[in-house]
Every structure is written in structure tokens, then in C-alpha cells.
């Protein structure tokens, strides 16, 4: 870190307030995960931190030394590490990018390399900082204007102007979008409802295949083992899956053999020769 620059020091953020007991556990878990990522107090992300660091160079943003800025930033991150402050991921991504930029600024340009030069990248970063700074100032100027309800006032006793309709409905775009989102995401929150009527369980399949395998001396298609009325549709899928799983189990027990001649070819099975 250069001496003429006032070092900015990372600080710990105050830990979040404990959650009330009645808060759902899912929320607690999520919060706990988030709490592991300690943000850098007071900065709205890496670009904001860079802007603050750039100001300490006490030059016009146009003249900021990007190389020096990269060093300042890396110094800041290093100090955070020593203070055992865990930085949010985006700060680390920025640090990696700046380390890369720094090395490219210091090395002679590689004529083989495509894409923007290190100087282009540095100039673009300077542009981004200047633009963010300009937007900050614009926001401050906007908020400092003579605002309605604070400096300028509207008619205190407006007279109702009749529309043709006698009823107007109060509904905003937000309400509309939320209603749609609610409908479209409703299924995401619906607990999984188990459909017993159309499910053939593996226990049922095991029992069935055990009973039938004694008769299968020759290779027989798996589909032959499906119960009546379970040959197609949703029930067919369930019965096929259960029966296949059951045959795997029986093969493991050494009771039968399974064969498939090619990918997607019918699965066939037979009693294992020698098994009773």
C-alpha cells in the first residue's frame, strides 16, 4: 500500500439480531447461512468500495491511477483477511480481477493476445467509476430538488371530477403481477400429494414376480409380468418401474437373470438355471 494514500480499513459488521423463536426453521437455516458471509460495513459492493478508495487518491476521477487503485483494493482485501473478516464473494471476485488487471498492466503487452488490452480494461474501469460517481451526484441533486409534498404542494381540497363510470377499481400493476406470480408459483408450494390409487409398489411387484418367475424357464419380456390393467399410461409407468426394481432385487438374490439386447430393446428375464 502506498504511503500517500490514507488506508481505508475493513470493519466487522454488527451481527444480525437473534431471531424470535417462532420463526420457521427453514428461515433460520437460511439466515444462518447468510450470516457466515460478512459484508464489508458501509459499502454497496466492490465498485462502491473502489470509488471510495479512488477518492483517497485526491485527484480528479479522470486522472485516477488504476494500477494504484488495484493495489489499494488488494491491500484492503489482504487486511480484511488478516482481521479474519470473511468478505462476500463479489469482493473476492473483484480482487481476483484486479490482480489479473494489475499483472497485465505491469507486463509488456502480449501481441498474441486477443480482446481488449490492459489499458482498455483500465480505462473502462475508470469510466465505470466516473459514471457511478456521476449517478450518485445526480441522485443527490434529484433528492435536493423542490419536491412535491415538501417544497411544493398540491390543492388541499381537490374537487371530485366525475368520470363516466361511477365505480373505479383500485388495482395497480404490482397487484396484477403479484396475482399472476401467485397463480404460477402456487404449485411450487403445494405439498407433494401421494397418489396411492395409481401406484404399484415394489412390495407388490416383488410378490408378483416371485410368484411368476418359477414359470419363466425361457426369456420372457418384462412387460409380461405387469398386472392386468396396469399396462399403459401413468399406471403402466408405475408398474413397469416397480416390476423392474423387483427383478433387480431378485437378480441380486440370484433368483433370475435379466437381459437387454440393445439400448431401448425390451428387457427380458428368466429364472436362473439351477435356482428353484
Amino acid at each position: 500500500m502506498t504511503d500517500k494514500v490514507t488506508p481505508l480499513r475493513p470493519r466487522h459488521r454488527t451481527p444480525p439480531a437473534p431471531l424470535p423463536l417462532e420463526v420457521a426453521t427453514a428461515v433460520e437455516e437460511r439466515r444462518a447461512e447468510e450470516a457466515l458471509i460478512v459484508d464489508v460495513d458501509g459499502y454497496e459492493g466492490p465498485l462502491d468500495l473502489l470509488l471510495t478508495l479512488a477518492r483517497t487518491q485526491k485527484v480528479d476521477l479522470m486522472q485516477v491511477s488504476i494500477l494504484q487503485l488495484a493495489e489499494q483494493y488488494l491491500g484492503f482485501v489482504e487486511e480484511a483477511r488478516q482481521l479474519r473478516i470473511e468478505l462476500a464473494a463479489d469482493y473476492l471476485v473483484m480482487a481476483a480481477w484486479l490482480a489479473f488487471l494489475k499483472s497485465r498492466l505491469l507486463l509488456p503487452p502480449d501481441p498474441e493476445e486477443d480482446g481488449p488490452s490492459a489499458e482498455d480494461l483500465a480505462a473502462h474501469l475508470a469510466f465505470q467509476l466516473e459514471r457511478l460517481d456521476a449517478m450518485r451526484k445526480a441522485a443527490a441533486r434529484l433528492m435536493g430538488r423542490d419536491r412535491l409534498g415538501q417544497s411544493r404542494f398540491l390543492r388541499g381540497m381537490p374537487e371530485q371530477i366525475a368520470r363516466r363510470r361511477s365505480v373505479t377499481f383500485e388495482v395497480g400493476l404490482i397487484d396484477l403481477m403479484r396475482a399472476y406470480a401467485r397463480l404460477k408459483t402456487r404449485d411450487e408450494f403445494r405439498p407433494y400429494a401421494f397418489d396411492r390409487k395409481n401406484v404399484f409398489t415394489m412390495e407388490q411387484a416383488l410378490e408378483r414376480v416371485r410368484g411368476l418367475i418359477g414359470f419363466a424357464g425361457e426369456w420372457t419380456a418384462l412387460s409380461e409380468f405387469l398386472p392386468d390393467g396396469w399396462g399403459s399410461g401413468e399406471r403402466g409407468r408405475s408398474a413397469t418401474a416397480a416390476t423392474f426394481a423387483a427383478t433387480l432385487e431378485l437378480a441380486r438374490e440370484g433368483k433370475l437373470e435379466i437381459r437387454q439386447d440393445a439400448t431401448f430393446a425390451p428387457i427380458t428375464l428368466r429364472r436362473k438355471p439351477g435356482a428353484e
Binding site: 388541499g156 381540497m157 366525475a162 383500485e170 395497480g172 403481477m177 403479484r178 396475482a179 399472476y180 405439498p191
Partner: protein, 217 residues
């Protein structure tokens, strides 16, 4: 013996501006005393009001005396421009909001499609209400068996919701990304969506009030 004010009062023209602004912005008629309380020391609201009344005489708006107070009022001969018919504002029911959202996102859409998305039958009144409001109209018939009527949103809808076209409505992932879509819809936390043994249940949509679009809370 009254103390002399430190500064001379503002000129009458300036006092008139002050009175004009205060009377305009106030939600009630304002008395001379209230005006004086808010004006700089030494001001003479009575004279300022009198001068302002003369200025507004014969204009579209007049400075009326209401008891001891003053207020701006529309000139009586222009009341025809106001047509003070009462305008009632009501919240759009949830059923209607949902139906409207579906039409906006899926137009042209048939009634059967709306019902499929909402998971409940749409009462006649809901669509009628949206049509009457001028937000929905009947589009082309769908060239499928039964040739069902489709519904589309109107210019009036775009106008009300500040949209340039219905195609500009943000999609689901955009809603989520913009934070407009809570990971869990508010107010539904405590409502069990599906109770055991009724897979067809559609949350609290099935309450009768919703079906008839009368749930105005």
C-alpha cells in the same frame, strides 16, 4: 406597548402570494387568525385576502368566505365542468385481479384456459366486471372445436396500468429477479394449501366469496 418588529413586514404583493399558496394547499378553509400565525410578523392577512379576492373575482376559481374562514372554490357557472357525480373506489377482488392477470399474460385466452390456470370455475360476473370496466374485451373466436370466444385486454387496460403493450409485462423469472415475486406469497403462510385427501383443492381460491368476485377486503 407593543414591541416593534425587527424586520418590516413583506410588501402586500408578497403577502398576497403567501395567502394564495396557503389557501390553495390547505385541506380546510383557513381563518385570518391561522393565516396570521403562519405569516411573518407584522403581516396583514385581512388586507392580503381582500386584495386576493379582487384578483380572483370573475376568474374560473373564486376566493369564497366560509364562516370566518376562506377557501378557493370553482366559479358557480363552471360547475358543469365538474359534474359532481360520486365516484366510488373499490378494490378489485382477488378473483378479478387473477383473471385480469391471466388475460393480460396469455391473451387471446379462452374461458376454459383461464379456468385451467386458476384451477377454479370463473363466474360470469368476474369477466363481465372486467369488460364493463373497459379493461377486457372479446377477441377472435378460437379455431378449435366449439369455436370458443377468446378474451383480450384493451387500450384502456394499457392506459390504466401504464403499459405500452401487454407484451411488456415481465415474465416469471423477471418478476422473481426484480424482487416482485416473494418466494412465498404473503398472507398464505398460515393457510394450508392442500388438506389431506383433497388433491383438487386450490388453496383458498375455493372460498365462495372468491368465486363471485365479492371478496373486497
Amino acid at each position: 406597548m407593543s414591541e416593534e418588529p425587527d424586520f418590516p413586514p413583506p410588501p402586500l404583493a408578497e403577502q398576497e402570494r403567501m395567502v394564495e399558496a396557503m389557501l390553495f394547499a390547505s385541506a380546510q378553509p383557513v381563518s385570518l387568525r391561522d393565516l396570521a400565525d403562519r405569516m411573518p410578523q407584522g403581516a396583514d392577512p385581512a388586507e392580503a385576502v381582500a386584495s386576493l379576492r379582487r384578483r380572483y373575482a370573475g376568474r374560473g376559481v373564486e376566493l369564497a368566505r366560509v364562516g370566518d374562514s376562506f377557501a378557493f372554490r370553482t366559479a358557480a357557472d363552471l360547475s358543469f365542468l365538474m359534474q359532481t357525480e360520486t365516484v366510488e373506489t373499490r378494490r378489485l377482488s382477488r378473483a378479478a385481479t387473477e383473471t385480469l392477470a391471466i388475460i393480460a399474460y396469455h391473451q387471446p385466452v379462452t374461458r376454459a384456459e383461464i379456468e385451467e390456470i386458476r384451477g377454479v370455475a370463473t363466474s360470469r360476473g368476474t369477466l363481465d366486471q372486467l369488460i364493463e370496466q373497459g379493461w377486457v374485451r372479446i377477441g377472435r373466436r378460437r379455431m378449435t372445436p366449439g369455436r370458443p370466444v377468446t378474451f383480450v385486454v384493451t387500450e384502456g387496460f394499457l392506459d390504466h396500468f401504464g403499459l405500452e403493450s401487454a407484451r411488456d409485462l415481465p415474465g416469471l423469472s423477471e418478476l422473481r429477479a426484480a424482487g416482485l415475486l416473494d418466494s412465498r406469497p404473503p398472507g398464505e403462510m398460515s393457510v394450508p394449501l392442500v388438506r389431506e385427501g383433497d388433491e383438487d383443492d386450490n388453496g383458498d381460491d375455493t372460498r365462495p366469496g372468491d368465486l363471485f368476485g365479492e371478496e373486497d377486503d
